[in-house]
């Protein structure tokens, strides 16, 4: 539920999730190898290691594309949230698949020469001043280094000790890794393989990732509220906030705010989970606690504190009700500050919309 890092607590879902990752990756590798072997003329077999370099390299790019699509997809449909959960397993697997690709490349293309493989990686193509001739290997090395940092710090131990802000910033490096990998592919194998399928596949990855993130950013911007004269933000009619759910406000400055209704009480807290920055406003109140949809971290909305023995804290916000509408003071209280909930009249609460049916 909250901080207290240890070995992975396996359950049925996590096992199925990881089995699916392994199944998808093995399917891709087996099919790629089998089809390559079957479609080459008998007198033109591809060298085995070169075949594996291509299989593992293309798979790692495909997996990174998938990883980057999960976040925006989960924003548009809660059904994708289980995929978001344990996305780190997908990320760590991607790193190891990319590592196999990189080791095979170092051995095959840069090994057994008169200079050492690492030096060869960076000096064998000196055309750093050219776009078409750019040494694409260095972009791949950059992406691998970032994926390594992310995989090495994926455990909650690092999240807790680096601090959520630094940890999040470090893991935002995935976008730099993706950009480097796009360059690695575009300036590397795409310049050799002439079939339009390869350019199309690369373009589809870039367009999909970019479009999903732009759509997500646009959706977030839609929630931006202008403050009233006293600086408070209008969160809309109280009864339009589904019970145990939240509406999310985007103030002119600062973090977004999640305004929860729990029966007759309305409370506002930071929308940003202290664990991995998950969107608390997309979660719900369970057992009296705001529960993050990403990994289940919980906070008491009355004071922004995780229930004992945990000690994470998030900012709380003052709320008030006027003419059935909820207003929020965007000047947040220090994390963990108790704040009085806004109480709704019982008669009005009785008029609340019926529970949503599945």
């Amino acid at each position: 539920m909250s901080e207290g890092y240890g070995a992975v607590g396996w359950n049925g879902f996590k096992r199925r999730y990881d089995l699916s990752i392994a199944g998808g990756a093995i399917t891709y590798l087996v099919v790629f190898v089998a089809v390559t072997l079957l479609t080459r003329p008998a007198d033109q077999p591809m060298a085995e290691l070169q075949l594996l370099i291509r299989a593992f390299g293309s798979l790692s790019f495909l997996m990174l594309t998938l990883i980057l699509c999960i976040g925006p997809l989960a924003r548009f449909s809660p059904r994708f949230k289980p995929m978001l959960y344990n996305r780190r397993h997908l990320g760590v697997t991607t790193f190891f698949i990319a590592l196999v690709h990189a080791i095979a490349v170092l051995i095959w293309y840069h090994g057994f020469g008169v200079i050492d493989p690492i030096t060869s990686l960076f000096v064998s193509n000196p055309r750093y001043d050219s776009i078409a001739g750019f040494p694409f290997e260095s972009l791949g090395a950059l992406a691998l280094a970032i994926l390594f940092l992310m995989a090495a710090t994926s455990h909650d131990f690092w999240n807790a000790n680096l601090g959520p802000a630094l940890w999040k910033a470090l893991h935002m490096g995935v976008y730099l890794a993706y950009a480097a990998l796009v360059g690695h592919v575009a300036l590397g194998v795409i310049q050799f393989e002439k079939d339009p399928l390869y350019v199309t596949a690369l373009g589809a990855s870039v367009v999909t990732v970019t479009a999903l993130h732009l759509a997500g950013a646009f959706a977030s911007a839609q929630g931006k509220r202008s403050p009233a004269a006293d600086g408070w933000l209008d969160a809309g009619p109280a009864l339009e906030i589904p019970d145990t759910r939240a509406v999310i406000l985007t103030p002119p400055e600062g973090e977004r705010i999640a305004v929860f209704r729990d029966g007759l009480q309305v409370m506002a807290v930071s929308n940003v989970c202290r664990h991995q920055g998950g969107p608390l406003g997309e979660g719900r109140i369970l057992d009296g606690c705001v529960t993050c949809p990403w990994h289940g971290f919980q906070y008491d909305p009355a004071n922004g504190r995780s229930p004992p023995p945990f000690n994470e804290r998030i900012a709380t916000y003052q709320t008030r009700s006027a003419d059935g509408r909820i207003w929020v003071n965007p000047q947040g209280n220090p994390p963990g500050t108790p704040v009085a909930p806004t109480l709704l009249p019982a008669a009005k609460a009785d008029q609340q919309p019926p529970e949503r049916q599945p």
């Binding site: 359950n11 199944g23 033109q44 949230k81 369970l286």
Partner: protein, 252 residues
């Protein structure tokens, strides 16, 4: 099922039925998609070329020559004289060793790399792969004189002959650039991989304007890039050479 039960919590023992069904369908779709994409990307790869490397070391006899590149002149089983270009087992040449035996009859151990009538021997590992033969050098196995053909301007790609002949498949293009550069830096003969008048690809060993091996360093930035070379076509029996100064090699 209530809405409460529908809320996914990753650490919970039970996954809501709706999420289970969705993830099952999504997992199957992604697996099938992975398979389809893997099949497509694999099927449309360029053909890698038809070189072969018989990695079993065999005994060879003939006369070795050090220049312009180390070679063994030997008789095939049918009596045909062939040139077998010599390299080390890895990404390097053997000029220093072969120079000690220049023009002499030798026996040596190595594995055959062959492609489209071009033959190369990768020396066996260790230092005792070559030894003087008891016989004298047969005159027919001497270094063939260079026959000057015509001046040509050719467009193609500079690569190393070992990878082209079968050490790697594919052995051309940007992905192979670093390897070709490493091989040429180590002393493997460089060649221009160009189309002839009939449109077929063939390699021409690159030598300088004096017919000698180029110094590798100036060639390295040009390796695996599309280049145009203006030079003199030479033939030494079964091997074609393109002779030009480095300055006449330009990127296209």
């Amino acid at each position: 099922m209530s809405d409460d039960n529908d809320y996914f919590i990753g650490y919970a023992a039970e996954t809501p039925a709706r999420d289970r069904r969705f993830m099952l369908r999504l997992g199957l779709s992604l697996t099938l998609g992975c398979g389809a994409l893997g099949a497509g990307l694999a099927a449309f790869q360029r053909q890698p070329g038809n070189g072969t490397w018989d990695v079993e070391d065999r005994q060879w006899q003939g006369v070795v020559h050090a220049d312009p590149f180390p070679m063994l002149r030997t008789r095939d089983v049918d009596g045909t004289v062939r040139s077998l270009w010599l390299v080390c087992p890895f990404k390097c040449g053997v000029r220093t060793i072969v120079s000690a035996y220049d023009g002499q009859a030798v026996t040596l151990r190595g594995s055959l790399i062959a492609r489209d009538g071009f033959y190369m021997l990768a020396a066996a590992e260790g230092s005792d792969w070559i030894a003087p033969a008891s016989s004298t050098a047969e005159p027919a196995l001497g270094l063939p004189a260079a026959e000057s053909l015509e001046r040509v301007t050719l467009v193609g790609e500079i690569l190393d002959m070992k990878c082209f002949a079968g050490a790697m498949r594919p052995s051309t293009g940007k992905p192979h650039k670093a390897c070709a550069s490493l091989c040429i830096r180590g002393g493997v003969p460089p060649a221009l991989f160009a189309r002839d008048r009939r449109g077929a690809y063939r390699p021409l060993l690159l030598v300088d304007e004096n017919g000698e091996a180029h110094s590798p360093e100036p060639l390295l930035p040009l390796v695996a890039d599309p280049v145009r070379i203006e030079g003199q076509l030479l033939r030494r029996k079964d091997t074609l050479f393109l002779s030009s100064p480095i300055a006449d090699i330009r990127r296209t």
